[in-house]
């Protein structure tokens, strides 16, 4: 437990200059987390009472002033994560045309993070058991799920939901499950019906939520092989709700018949990402890897709330590690997890209109980051974050930070294939094929012969048939994405 007495500010997880609005919000969040009706662990009622006391004082301006007068000077706060911001250029230039600037945000564990206990998991597997899964896919999926079940640590909570056009809870969220009995329940799963992802997602959400609290890594792993029809917007709403409750969603698509764009969108709302499993025999490795990653998490998510400046548009945001994936560009952003041994890196692209360069400096982003750290009992105050660049008449000569060149170089390949897709959808077949060929050249240069060949074959497919093959399309998308993590 905490060695010394904490200030009321620390208990609520706000900074000393927090506004009344911020204090109120922090109180509501803490109250939800530690309310006596929900307590599962010893000592939480005491924390709740402390939160109450802190709020009663800080919410009243005169009592807050009295308290502040007696408060010892603030010690430099030791956060479990640190961050750095790198820019692609030292300044913007006064120009009559739009210009770009790239920003790399790195969030990494600090020395303090070693003292945080590794949080237990609360994970639900949502398994697509529609008829298309019959055969190898189903067998491999069952074997992988059973493997995970046996690898669980005693402190983990685990549940399994199977879904097709309806959902069934195979293993309710349970602590120290009876592994052998549950194993036979997984073995009995039978494929039937069509794929309706919302069914599976909703049931999984209920399971995870029943045991969700701030001390665990709460997560849903969705494994599917098919398209879902008509329930996409319901799924996205559910993902928003999950994100608010601190529940992450990641997805794995098996084979070629699933909707990668939709699953990416779904997961990115919670800071998660989607993965492509080309062959059923890889299901096990992907699933074990996902669990292994979840058990190295320091912060399960970093939530960035921000506002920008009109004319300085966040054109693109992409997480390059620990798990590569595109991010939305609207506040609040769920940036994703920070691992014990791997920082969270996010690249932002800003496009600045000429009208803004009449000023001396341009603020690109102003906001606060909130790392969600399950191993800590009290929340940490939001970290203020600002991206801004001075404006000069001349371009600076300083080269971009090597980390930016490194990530951007690899990201450029992903973006070229993305561009080819946009062109293809617009019917610009020649251009799309040309970009895939450019991609192939770059891939060859990096020694990625297999992927380069796929890109050339797909360029031919575009010219001859006006489209990409489903396998090739996914192989190129997820292949260029995985290059980012090398």
């Amino acid at each position: 437990m905490m060695a010394k007495e904490q200030s009321y500010y620390a208990i609520l997880g706000v900074s000393r200059n927090a506004t009344q609005e911020e204090i109120k919000r922090a109180y509501l969040e803490a109250a939800q987390r530690f309310h006596p009706d929900k307590n599962k662990f010893a000592g939480e009622t005491e924390i709740f009472l402390e939160v109450q006391r802190a709020y009663e004082t800080l919410s009243n301006p005169s009592r807050r002033a009295q308290y502040d007068a007696l408060l010892p000077p603030e010690e430099k706060q030791q956060l479990p994560v640190e961050w750095e911001v790198h820019y692609s250029r030292p300044n913007l230039v006064r120009l009559n045309e739009p210009q770009m600037v790239y920003i790399l945000l790195e969030i990494f564990p600090s020395k303090q993070s070693g003292e945080i206990p590794i949080p237990p998991l609360n994970v639900c597997l949502a398994l697509d058991c529609s008829t298309s899964m019959a055969g190898d896919k189903m067998d491999m999926l069952k074997a992988a799920a059973i493997n995970v079940l046996h690898d669980l640590r005693p402190q983990d909570v685990f549940s399994v939901v199977s879904f097709s056009d309806r959902a069934q809870v195979i293993i309710p969220a349970s602590y120290r499950p009876e592994k052998h009995r549950l194993e036979s329940q997984i073995r009995m799963l039978q494929p039937r019906g069509a794929t309706e992802i919302f069914q599976g997602l909703e049931a999984s959400f209920r399971e995870v939520r029943s045991s969700a609290d701030g001390t665990r890594i709460n997560h849903i792993i969705l494994i599917t092989d098919g398209h879902t029809y008509g329930d996409e917007s319901a799924c996205l709403e559910l993902a928003e709700e999950a994100a608010q409750k601190g529940i992450g969603i990641s997805a794995m698509g098996i084979g070629k018949e699933w909707n990668d764009v939709f699953l990416d969108t779904l997961c990115s709302r919670t800071g998660g990402s989607s993965k492509y499993i080309a062959k059923p025999e890889d299901i096990r490795a992907f699933l074990l890897n996902e669990f292994e990653t979840l058990s190295r998490v320091i912060a399960s998510d970093v939530v960035l709330e921000f506002s920008g400046t009109p004319g300085a548009e966040m054109a693109f945001a992409f997480r390059t590690q620990p798990e590569a994936g595109p991010l939305p560009t609207e506040s609040p952003l769920h940036l994703g997890a920070v691992l014990q041994d791997m920082p969270l890196n996010v690249l932002f692209e800003y496009r600045i209109e000429p009208s803004l360069t009449n000023q001396d400096a341009v603020t690109l982003l102003q906001g606060s980051m909130k790392p969600v750290i399950a191993g800590l009992r009290t929340p940490i105050p939001p970290i203020r974050l600002e991206f801004s660049r001075p404006v000069s008449a001349q371009a600076g000569t300083e080269p971009p930070h090597p980390a930016i060149i490194h990530s951007l170089g690899r990201l450029t390949l992903y973006r070229i294939q993305d561009k080819a897709r946009v062109e293809l959808n617009a019917g610009q077949y020649e251009l799309a094929a040309q970009h895939l060929k450019q991609l192939a050249t770059n891939l060859l240069a990096q020694g990625e012969r297999g992927l380069a060949r796929t890109a050339l074959i797909e360029a031919e497919n575009i010219l001859q048939m006006g489209g990409l093959s489903e396998e090739g399309s996914k192989a190129i998308k997820y292949g260029t994405r995985s290059l980012l993590m090398k």
């Binding site: 120009l95 971009p400 450029t412 770059n442 060859l444 240069a445 360029a459």
Partner: protein, 167 residues
Amino acid sequence: MIVCPNCKHENLDGSVFCLNCGSQLVGSDSLVTQNIDTDQAKQTQPIEGKYAPPSYSFETWASLHLLDSGQILPLSDRSEFTLGRVSEAQPIMPDIDLTPYQAYSCGVSRLHAALKREGKRVFIMDLGSSNGTFLNGKRLQPHVEYLLNHSDIFSLGKLKIQILIKK
């Protein structure tokens, strides 16, 4: 605007990589492929029979004969090779680095062309190079494979190479 030296695509000011071809635009100290006068490159004259054919090792399926230096580079083991010029700041690694043979001053791109064997036949493909690949004096279309015959001369920019194919 920043015009990409490789593909001439116009990128917005502040871009770090070309969004069309992926070339690095700023922050690299490496050499950018020199643009050469294409008229000169077209005047390539085939040179035949001037050098004795090299002896082949067992696996060698073809050799590159660099006409300016007389150097012979055997191709073996793999069935596909990329030709280009290593540049320090970038992760581009052609299989055959032509830097020692005046590649830079001849206008060879970092990744210029690829050679490929299919059975007994050998193909060349330009990889979208700045100064082009020429076969017996004619400029090749990028990303299209062309059949090479024994003793054909191709040039990467101005660097002339004769292909010697094992029968």
